[in-house]
Amino acid sequence: MKGQIFETLSFLILAMAIIGIIILMRIYLIGGFTKTFLNLAERHTDEGVRAGVNALLATTEEKTGKTQLELIGISAFVGNTTLNFGPAVGNIDVVKELTWRFDAEFGKNHWHINVPYPYITPDIQIVMVLDSSSSMCYSVPIISQKLPQIVDQLRQNGKRVSITIYMLPGSVKCCNGFTLACSPGQFPEKSYFHCKPIEEIQNDCATKLPSGTSVQTDEDYADGLACAIESGPAEGWKSGSIKLAIGSSDELSLGSECGGGLTCCPSLSAYPSAIQSGNNAIQASIKNDVPLYMIQAVDYADRQRTQCGNICFYESENYYNCNCNGETCTCPLTDPQCKCTDVVTQFQQNLSESTGGQAYILNDLSGQDIVDKIQTIINSQQQNRIPELNIGAAVPVGKNIRAVNIPVPISLAGMFTNATIYEWS
């Protein structure tokens, strides 16, 4: 009986061993081979996806001729997925461009792109228009003295500020030795600081302005602002920069004289030419997305005591209401300058508030006031940057995801970011 039991057991053990071998073969050998096969097949699919992503990013947007990789780089630089390529091309939507291409190649809801956008300090480009009439003999010399210092200081603090001053026509010679015109001695020329007579751009901007008119007088600063915005700063408007326009005058655009006389009208509606000029500035500002900032220049010798000042400039002819000696004239700033202060404030506030800017009134001639005002304007500029480009369907959980990393050059900043593209079947 014992022998039979052992005999039976030995057969059982043999049978179990064979069954065990079969099971092990199925689990390990076949399973292992299948895994190897799948890995190799997956590598080929990976290669296809990588090649496809490279090819897609090399395709061009048809209006600009720029590749998708270049568009992502520009988008990373400006921190926005809508890129403006000027009036001829218009806006390009990077998300839309990438979406239809990836949908066509990989299918809808089968891909996702993530590109972190590094923080890039934006350029701050300023165009400034200065009234050059004799009443500005108070304020322009202070601007000339302080503005280059402010820009230098801001640049030392990491702000990439550049400024182009457009001086309205006139070239009045003030008794304090300052001439209301651009000259290297008064406005030092630097790569980021320029002063130009507005005549240099008048023909160009006249063709761009809907009114077809350019600057008319030494006090037509609203048309001057429209012109400066349309023509841009000396280096041209840059893609992705913060752009703003600053105007400074003590009068209404085209002058505060009412009905041709040295009196002041009680309301703005009595100045149709100023209103038209202001509308030109507002239209140019809104069209080009360049807000207007106004600095109302000083006419008062003592604003708190409402004591109007006098202005002295070189003039051989006699001026009405002025004390002229054949060489210089000294004129009181009572009419229309000081008396029109409220109307001017209203006009300049309207320009600023209609365009997202701000109006400021200079309180004194100390110089610190204008420093504070301009620093406030520049420091208030913030760029709304998106932190990353994140488009396509959400990456699913539990699926076989293929990921490709592509370096994206941000050539405008001389740096790189990294695009990660996910694809799944």
């Binding site: 076949i30 299948t34 061009t60």
Partner: protein, 253 residues
């Protein structure tokens, strides 16, 4: 009683052991055949990817090469080369990506955007037009795609999809052997050879079209590289081909 039990259990155990050994054998052989099928599938997938990458990245094939820098760009194909290939390789594979184990045809489709929707633009096609059928007259082969970019100019590069239909059948293999021999002969490296082939359908050579054809319900023909002196095989079977050359004519006996 003890002896009787032994007589029953021993043969039973023997039968069980034999059954199990048969199972083991079956398992080993099925593993082998599965491995073979998987290997073939992997080879075909790998070859299809390789042919597509070769087409898209070789300057001898479709790759765009900058005239100024002589630089090549990954998977950017030149529209002029595409036009040339579509015109000159309507029925045969271009030499730059010829594979003697397979027959293939490539189709390239361009994508454009119109009013927010993706639409098809131009399309190109080249390569073999006829392929082998299996013994049940079913189509063979696999289709594999690769996204590419189509270069018109430096400022106009459009997205596209290159799809290959790749077939590894009897006609492709026989034709591949003959073409490979022809190529070696052209290079002065082969005078004669002997190869064994198998064909499921009768095989003829059409001298007018320089085509080797398998005759079935649907005839399949492939243009051969060399002109053949071949009387054909009227019945299916395994044959020994003796290949020699008379000038540039490939003689098959």
């Amino acid at each position: 009683m003890k002896g009787q039990l032994s007589y029953i259990i021993k043969p039973l155990a023997l039968v069980v052991t034999i059954v199990l050994l048969l199972l083991l054998y079956n398992s080993i052989s099925s593993f082998g055949s599965r491995e073979k099928i998987a290997q073939q599938s992997l080879d075909t997938t790998a070859d299809s990817t390789n042919i597509l990458l070769l087409l898209a990245n070789s300057p001898l094939c479709l790759a765009y090469q900058s005239a100024e820098t002589q630089g090549l760009y990954a998977n950017i194909v030149d529209v002029q080369k595409l036009n040339y290939f579509a015109q000159n390789y309507q029925n045969t594979e271009p030499e730059c990506a010829r594979n003697f184990d397979y027959g293939w045809r490539v189709t390239i489709k361009e994508f454009k955007e119109s009013n927010g929707a993706t639409v098809s633009g131009n399309s190109w096609s080249f390569g073999a037009t006829n392929f082998s059928f299996d013994s049940s007259q079913n189509s063979l082969g696999l289709d594999f795609s690769l996204p590419i970019a189509i270069h018109y100019s430096d400022t106009l590069i459009r997205p596209g999809l290159m799809t290959i239909h790749l077939v590894s059948g009897e006609l492709e293999k026989i034709s591949g052997i003959l073409d490979f021999s022809c190529q070696l002969h052209m290079q002065g490296r082969l005078l004669k050879s002997t190869v064994q082939i198998h064909t499921t359908y009768p095989l003829i050579y059409d001298a007018n079209s320089h085509s080797l054809c398998q005759i079935s319900k649907t005839n399949s023909c492939r243009i051969t590289d060399c002109e053949l002196d071949f009387s054909g095989f009227k019945s299916p079977g395994t044959y020994l081909l003796k290949i020699s050359f008379d000038k540039d004519k490939e003689v098959i006996r």
